[in-house]
Symmetry: C2
Subunit: 418 residues, 2 copies
Amino acid sequence: MEASAHGGPPLLRQINSAHVVAALRGAGPLSLSDLAARTGLSRPTVGQVVDQLTTAGLLAWAEPGQDGQGPRSGRPARLVRFRAEAAYVVGIDIGRHKALVTVADLAGTVVARRREDASGASSSADLLAVLRTAARGALAEAGIRRADVASVAAGTPGLVDWPRGAVMLAPGLPGWKIELARELRRSFRCPVQVENDANLAALAERRHGLARDAHTLVFIYWGERVGAGVLIGDRLHRGAANAAGEIGFLALDPGTTAEPDQLGRGPFERMVGAEAIVEVGREAATRHGGVLAGLGLDGPGLDGPDPRGAGAEAVFAAAAHGDPAAVEAVHTIAARFARGLAPVLLVLDPDLVVIGAGVSRAGSALLAAITDSVGPLTLVPPRLELSRLGDEAVALGAVELALADAETRLLPAPGLPG
Amino acid sequence: MEASAHGGPPLLRQINSAHVVAALRGAGPLSLSDLAARTGLSRPTVGQVVDQLTTAGLLAWAEPGQDGQGPRSGRPARLVRFRAEAAYVVGIDIGRHKALVTVADLAGTVVARRREDASGASSSADLLAVLRTAARGALAEAGIRRADVASVAAGTPGLVDWPRGAVMLAPGLPGWKIELARELRRSFRCPVQVENDANLAALAERRHGLARDAHTLVFIYWGERVGAGVLIGDRLHRGAANAAGEIGFLALDPGTTAEPDQLGRGPFERMVGAEAIVEVGREAATRHGGVLAGLGLDGPGLDGPDPRGAGAEAVFAAAAHGDPAAVEAVHTIAARFARGLAPVLLVLDPDLVVIGAGVSRAGSALLAAITDSVGPLTLVPPRLELSRLGDEAVALGAVELALADAETRLLPAPGLPG
């Protein structure tokens, strides 16, 4: 749909603006004629929209030659470009071990990231202080002021009251039942969204990762904690109480319950989380010997540096080198994981399951073992992948959420004079 | 959005037509002024749309007094009404025990239904013959010809290739791996859709039943077979291979697999289906005595008449009368069911779970026992209800699917002269 030359209804103006911005973000500087061709809008409408967006600061006329082609024969057409630097967004990943703050421009290009170790934090006040340090550092690295930030989104473990942004239940983070969005609004003078970390990672996989074409995507966050984010079409499936995907609380064995242990972990987390991987590895090493026996497996690892010693990653590394005890341990863990994955597959029948967080670095042997184990437990063999976004996934997903918010607000709003 | 007086783009014309039809279906005969007020369209646009739809046969001018109010002072405004009788749709429920064919007008009002016993069918040809008998009977009862049928939808157990309408896997119905839509198109000269039965029941609950306001609805079909239909917003969640909701194949006990038994039943169906209910009841009666012991529990019941004797329904009936063995059996079944329900809740966090098919007649004691058992297995207590649509749910859902198809095709199409 296209606005007529005399302006058209405000909603159409905004839709046309969004088309123009999307075309310029995707293609770099374009002439007005090229913009008209790419958007399907008329040349006069494009001229009008570009004028509005230039006034609003979202577009700029490019310097001659800025398209990398230099002047050609005849008078070169003027080119217009998207001003990705017109504003910035902040994506945050806050968890038990780290605060990761990412700054991106309006094109989604990351311009700064700062990680602070949060292992020492023993209260929500401590954790917020670590987060604020990371945010200050990231903004300084980006060379921008707080006023340049148009939107903020943060990912956290636990159940998040959407859209209020309060953490309702975060069993792995004692004291973390806080009004996180409100706290963050004290640091940033812009809209703040808070979302479950696995949900954000699913968004990142849709944008950057393996799931660009998957209609139904399940992202499984698998480190010390285990949870899932579910993306159906372009919408996060949050559930009635924002509790969809809480598979860490699957009580698979008869007689067990979803009750968290004293560390706040659910039964499936206790069965397959980093601590369980270490324990299974240690048991196998006790029986078989091999490199694992010599490592003094101790800390769970995976989600952050662990002072207690080699952790779950050592088990996967030893398995990759063919250590028999480690290979056996990987198969044991894969078989346990498959028992929790199977119900997810039977309920949702997803196009793709991406395994992320610490276990994403486990390597293809784990993936093959899970595929073998889950096959007999479901009707349709699943497509399974390990995330390639590493521990950036949550922060990148937060950037996506913040960008979506910034876009709706920065484009000329319906009802305002264009 | 509204078409201008000279017609407007075809898409707007169709949207305006849909608004007018929806207003008339909801409210009965209306004057053009009332129609304009209810749709937000201008009086000239309404006049134009009504002319088009009258020509197309979807609207008619009502006889004076047909609104039940009779002539008032002054010249009464002419009233226009929706012609629900302009065409009909057919909704079909085909399963191991029955073929149920429902005929409804364009307002969704059921005008005929015919049920034929299919217990004797031993091949897909037999079953199709029973279905054709039921269809002939239903059309005769409705007094309409095949040419009056604008759209047909059918629900069947098993995995259905959507939108092709082929049954890919129907473990409970030997030989039922057929091109069902193609077979039905030999009987009806109109579009035919085929869908999984639990999915259709979910649609019926959204339209007629308990789930009108639920964003995420899980309908659990629970009789001899067990499966789920998942409705998220206004869309059925079918899954990548149309296998979403196949919870009858949950292999909950360590060491078991999803492999169907020789009757095609999955492990969760064997654990809680009608046959299991009878067996649990018989065992409890052997220990406790009571009325169940005297009933000679034999057939599974629930989904249809069973020549082998009293079935699962007898267990629920005896429990409702306080028979201790039956009460114990209901608790045992509820505890088993809760183990399969809990993963559904943790993955989807639905607003509402409706238990339908045969077990919907089990009564509130079963519901209370399931609620007690599932609480400790999940994070958020679910809202659980028994369906009140009885065994009509699948056919009513099929009517919904057929109506949606008929509407999109009967309204003046974009691009055609209005």
